[in-house]
């Protein structure tokens, strides 16, 4: 077992890169602040239809940030984030419609429920040592079970789902505004900004560092004192809670939720694809991915409605947006496994080092 390829190079190369700043998160927070500020005037500039796309992008963003915490930082590949999205959506919708609870409270409750469910699923998966594909399949199975159960549970309106009752005028407390109001975008922006900020905080916290170490090598991390189970559970809980915010906001924005929209596998796939295209395990990957994936279906829809000459045979057909993001997904995984942001960031870092 001895390593025979002995390398004789003594570790005495000229000094490597300079020490990173003590608090690398400060720069990331600054970038985040700039991005948020730049985004603030968007709904006033964009035409209403594009404004809706912008909100959709932010919803994607929150989902992808949630997924990325568990699967990117934590390395626990989830194929069932629809479970947490759906729990957020359903908890808030149920509390609002059945009990008149403010959607903000509903959102918080949704986060708690999603975090709890994530921890239960996580606990059993880790306890029974499910890894890789098996873990992915288990998460998928749980999301699907939730979909099937809600579909046939009268207690949550079965397959009909919930329609959020309309109120007169606008109310921040009820999270409802006139159609096309920029307030939706701003609230989504705050939530998304909060999610990214949370992911920055987490990544640079002691817990976040443990989680990344556990991802890299679980036994080695445990052997230097990283509490494995506790941190994995913390990660899935945080991830579930953030994703639940996306679900709760989705319900308030679209005012309607049903089992397929909440727990359908396409929700999980959207979260995955967004994060992967942007860059798994990076802070900004989900942001980049959300902008691309979120606007893609709108772009292809216009493309298909009025196709250019050479694509005229596509008129009135569908699936192009999914095809494009499938192709993008495959190409990116094959050619830029760190995603668009991850690969670019690495390039820049390498250049700086030279």
């Amino acid at each position: 077992m001895t390593d025979t390829a002995v390398e004789s190079r003594p570790p005495t190369r000229p000094a490597g890169p300079a020490a990173p700043p003590l608090r690398p998160q400060n720069r990331q927070f600054a970038v985040l602040a700039v991005l948020v500020l730049l985004a603030v005037p968007l709904p006033l500039i964009l035409p209403p239809a594009q404004g809706a796309v912008a909100v959709r992008i932010l919803i994607f963003l929150i989902m992808a940030v949630g997924w990325n915490i568990m699967s990117g930082f934590g390395g626990m590949f989830s194929f069932g984030h629809a479970a947490y999205f759906g729990l957020g959506a359903y908890t808030s919708a149920y509390l609002l419609v059945e009990h008149g609870v403010s959607p903000w409270v509903g959102m918080a409750a949704g986060m708690v429920v999603a975090a709890a469910v994530a921890m239960v699923i996580g606990y059993f998966s880790f306890r029974y040592d499910l890894k890789g594909a098996y873990f992915a399949l288990a998460t998928f199975a749980f999301a699907e079970m939730l979909r099937l159960i809600t579909t046939s549970s009268d207690a949550v309106n079965g397959a009909v789902g919930y329609q959020v009752p309309l109120i007169q005028g606008s109310s921040v407390g009820q999270l409802q505004f006139p159609a096309g109001s920029p307030a939706y975008f701003w609230i989504a922006l705050v939530l998304a900004g909060g999610a990214v900020a949370l992911s920055i905080l987490f990544r640079h916290s002691a817990a976040g560092r443990y989680v990344v170490a556990i991802r890299d090598d679980e036994l080695a991390a445990a052997s230097v004192g990283a509490p494995v189970m506790r941190h994995k559970l913390l990660t899935v809980a945080l991830s579930g809670a953030i994703t639940a915010v996306a679900g709760a906001f989705y319900t308030q924005y679209y005012l309607f939720i049903d089992p397929q929209l909440a727990f359908g596998s396409s929700v999980s796939i959207e979260a995955i694809v967004t994060a992967v295209i942007g860059g798994i395990g990076t802070i900004w990957g989900p942001v980049v991915g959300a902008v691309i994936v979120g606007s893609l279906s709108d772009v292809t829809a216009t493309l298909l409605a009025t196709p250019p000459e050479f694509l005229s045979f596509l008129q009135g057909r569908s699936g192009l947006d999914v095809i494009l993001y499938a192709v993008m997904l495959i190409l990116i995984v094959r050619l830029m496994p760190k995603g668009i942001f991850g690969t670019l960031a690495e390039k820049v870092a390498e250049r700086r080092r030279r």
């Binding site: 040592d129 079970m145 995984v333």
Partner: protein, 331 residues
């Protein structure tokens, strides 16, 4: 599945493997018997339960058929092929197209679908899954996921969503002690058994099969004794895809052909694969039968619930308690 510990203890095969398998088969058999008995009490009608069992087994054969290719790929390449269902859909469209254009007997379209899917499988493996980009499990998962989205939506884009149907010429119905069995389902079932036997024979008694098994159990070792691992991987993937081709021709008279039909079978097929033990074609067949039964019994137990719910419950239990499958050994 055990934690990766650099243990210096080599693993050895338990001498009583066959006994253990038989014992587990006994346990499973007993569970099934109990489940059927409970269903009898619940429904109160012998003929209904009997028909459910027969239907469950026949549908289960179909699941086994579809899962065989998947389990082969899973077992040898360790790839969770999310595109398997989409490949099945492609093959079904192909089969439908051949029937529609040439009027060939649906089963004979196998002559087209099997080689075509073999080729597709080989191309997919060579083009997308081999080499560095296809190395990690996450990447394979993502690539096959992308591929399934691509194939499904490609079918949708070019062929439309309208369901297409193929009828089996000379469809008959048989009476099996009061239960009705339609010919097409019986043939598909028999086809599944035959395909299982062919694959089993191929793996056990041909040079290719030996090479595949060698690669599955220890690919660096196989490399050392002169087996071209990459070629075996491509061949295995192609054979797995070709199985989907065969399954498509056998199943095409049973189902409405739609671009998304793969979704319906994909997850069930995964359950079957895990249940039967990855890489185990006979296990896939047995797992398929069990899942078929579970589905049917779920509809008796839980009226109003989707039959899939029972499947997922079984799936999660198996994942947690016996991730190596009913007939597999812990690796």
């Amino acid at each position: 599945m055990t934690a990766t510990i650099d243990s210096d203890a080599p693993e050895t095969r338990a001498p009583s493997a066959t006994v253990a398998v038989l014992k587990r088969a006994g346990v499973v058999g007993a569970l099934v018997a109990v489940a059927i008995a409970v269903a009898l009490i619940q429904s109160g009608s012998g003929i209904v339960v009997w028909q459910s069992v027969v239907t469950g087994l026949l549908t289960g054969g179909l699941y086994g058929l579809i899962a065989m290719g998947l389990t082969l790929i899973f077992g040898v390449l360790d790839i969770v092929n999310f595109a398997h269902g989409a490949m099945l859909a492609v093959a079904m469209f192909l089969s439908f197209g051949v029937v529609a254009v040439t009027g060939l007997h649906p089963y004979l379209t196998m002559l087209v679908t099997v080689p075509a899917l073999f080729l597709v499988g080989a191309l997919v493996h060579r083009g997308l899954l081999s080499g560095a980009g296809g190395a990690t499990l996450e990447n394979q998962l993502l690539i096959t996921l992308g591929l399934s989205l691509l194939l499904e939506n490609g079918l949708l884009l070019f062929l439309g969503a309208e369901p297409k149907n193929v009828t089996l010429p000379g469809e008959t119905h048989l009476d099996v002690f009061g239960a009705v069995v339609s010919g097409s389902r019986l043939y598909a079932f028999l086809g599944a058994v035959a395909l299982g036997l062919v694959l089993y024979w191929m793996l056990q008694h041909t040079r290719l099969g030996t090479a595949i098994r060698a690669v599955a159990s220890n690919s660096p070792g196989a490399e050392l004794v002169g087996i071209n691992v990459r070629r075996i991987h491509t061949l295995t993937f192609a054979i797995g895809a070709a199985c989907a081709g065969a399954a498509a021709a056998l199943a095409v008279p049973l189902l409405s052909v739609t671009p998304t039909l793969g979704e319906q079978f994909n997850i069930t097929a995964f359950v079957v694969v895990v249940l039967g033990g990855m890489g185990n074609v006979v296990g896939a067949l047995v797992g398929g039968l069990l899942i078929g039964l579970v589905e049917q019994l779920t509809t008796i137990y839980l009226d109003g619930q989707s039959s899939l719910l029972g499947v997922f419950v079984v799936f999660v239990l198996v994942l947690f308690l016996r991730p190596q499958g009913l007939f597999g050994r812990r690796t």
